[in-house]
Symmetry: none
Subunit: 223 residues, 2 copies
DNA sequence: GTCTCCGTAATGCTGCCGCAACCTTAGCGG
DNA sequence: CCGCTAAGGTTGCGGCAGCATTACGGAGAC
């Protein structure tokens, strides 16, 4: 196993490298972001450990750079900047985990193992259908780069359909996506949402259509 | 997006459910581990939020149970037991993340998104015959990557045949696949469906043919 | 208060599907 | 090779299940 460690505190870096090597992990170490990017191009790492405050900038900027280059290498951010909102920031630019300093090497190892258990591939963060752009994780929708707000239930229907665009989505699947097991439905509430959603999509010129497959379910398609 | 929340503090659970629902997340809630396991068998969750101290035992014991049952649903442990070594324990039995109480909902959301970016490698069961791609679970069919929707009964016939492609399917088997025990048939309705299905397959250029085995049943083959 | 969301129910419509009548084909005996 | 029989194939038709739409009222947010 081979890691890239991007960290400017020499002492910590050395100690960490030594500790990891006892677990059979080979570590490449660099201080600068620029070097880090170069190293990822030349080598293939199983994971990357990333500090935030670095001599040549904010470590987090490295993540979108790497992702855009097509790399899905797991990234764990290691930093003293450990406020909850800072953690949110780090995770939302694409980090897989976020660990505040100081930490136990044992915890880092455990988080590494957890991250490496997951398959390497990344889901599409955005789905495009017609003139719509859908982010299923943030549940945001834009039509032609204009934000497109819709009621919660309609939004859930749309996202569920978009995740399987051009494929049928069973009626039961849609119901499961929109209601929990306590919320009983005794009417055609789902149909009503579909109807209202259709109208909104039409008005917004979203360039998509929701088709019904009688007795089976629905299907989202470009027009 | 649908979550299972296993948590015994009613107040926290309600507050969390409400907060998550504002983020468009549908939550099923239970207090007991036994119920939790049952719910995972009946529903398909995008992720599970798990407390440790529960009335019927240590929450962590749920994880190996679930994993052994073949589910790779992401699990985030939410607990007041937040010592580093307790975190290691949680992660190493198979949790994907570990968040100490109290926490910001925003952080939970960010960690959820991080975990969901790496989708469980679901072995999507698909059957290919001729130019057709058939997904028997979602009941969806495509011909040359173009969605091919057909009436429910014909769809059921096709899927039943595809599941045993190149092998004969008994007439009675087909009837069982298409009709439930309440729906009696007193005519050649099945033959009619086969006929209409054949026409549609031909028109769509599906590259398959339904053969009849006289007195026995039918058989789906590539042309 | 005002506004939006959402479940309910009434209404109208669409097209699936069971039926049955009729046609085609396979299998077999002479 | 012919013709009979039974199984399978095709097609039009009518009934009705399932879907679409919309108005209404309650509930909750601000």
């Amino acid at each position: 196993m081979r890691l890239l460690l991007v960290e400017d505190e020499r002492e910590l870096a050395d100690a960490l490298s030594a500790a990891l090597s006892k677990h059979g992990i080979v570590t490449d170490h660099t201080i600068h972001l620029a070097d880090a990017f170069e190293l990822t191009r030349q080598n293939s790492y199983d994971a990357i450990l990333l500090d935030r405050r670095l001599p040549d900038g904010e470590g987090l900027t490295f993540i979108p750079l790497l992702r855009r280059a097509g790399a899905d290498t797991p990234i764990i951010v290691l930093t003293a900047r450990n406020e909850p909102l800072e953690r949110v920031e780090g995770l939302d630019v694409g980090a897989d985990d976020y660990l505040g300093k100081p930490f136990l090497v044992e915890e880092l190892m455990a988080r590494l193992r957890a991250v490496l258990r997951r398959p390497p591939s990344l889901t599409e963060l955005q789905i495009t259908v017609g003139r719509m752009l859908i982010d299923p994780l943030h549940l945001s929708v834009t039509v032609g780069s204009i934000p497109f707000d819709l009621p919660r239930r309609e939004l859930l229907v749309l996202v569920a359909l978009a995740k399987r665009k051009d494929k049928t989505v069973l009626r039961t699947t849609l119901e499961a996506a929109v209601y929990n097991y306590e919320e009983e439905i005794q009417s055609n509430a789902l149909d009503a949402h579909i109807s209202r959603l259709r109208k909104r999509l039409l008005d917004a010129g979203a360039g998509v259509a929701i088709h019904n497959i009688r007795g089976v379910g629905y299907l989202l398609k470009e027009e």
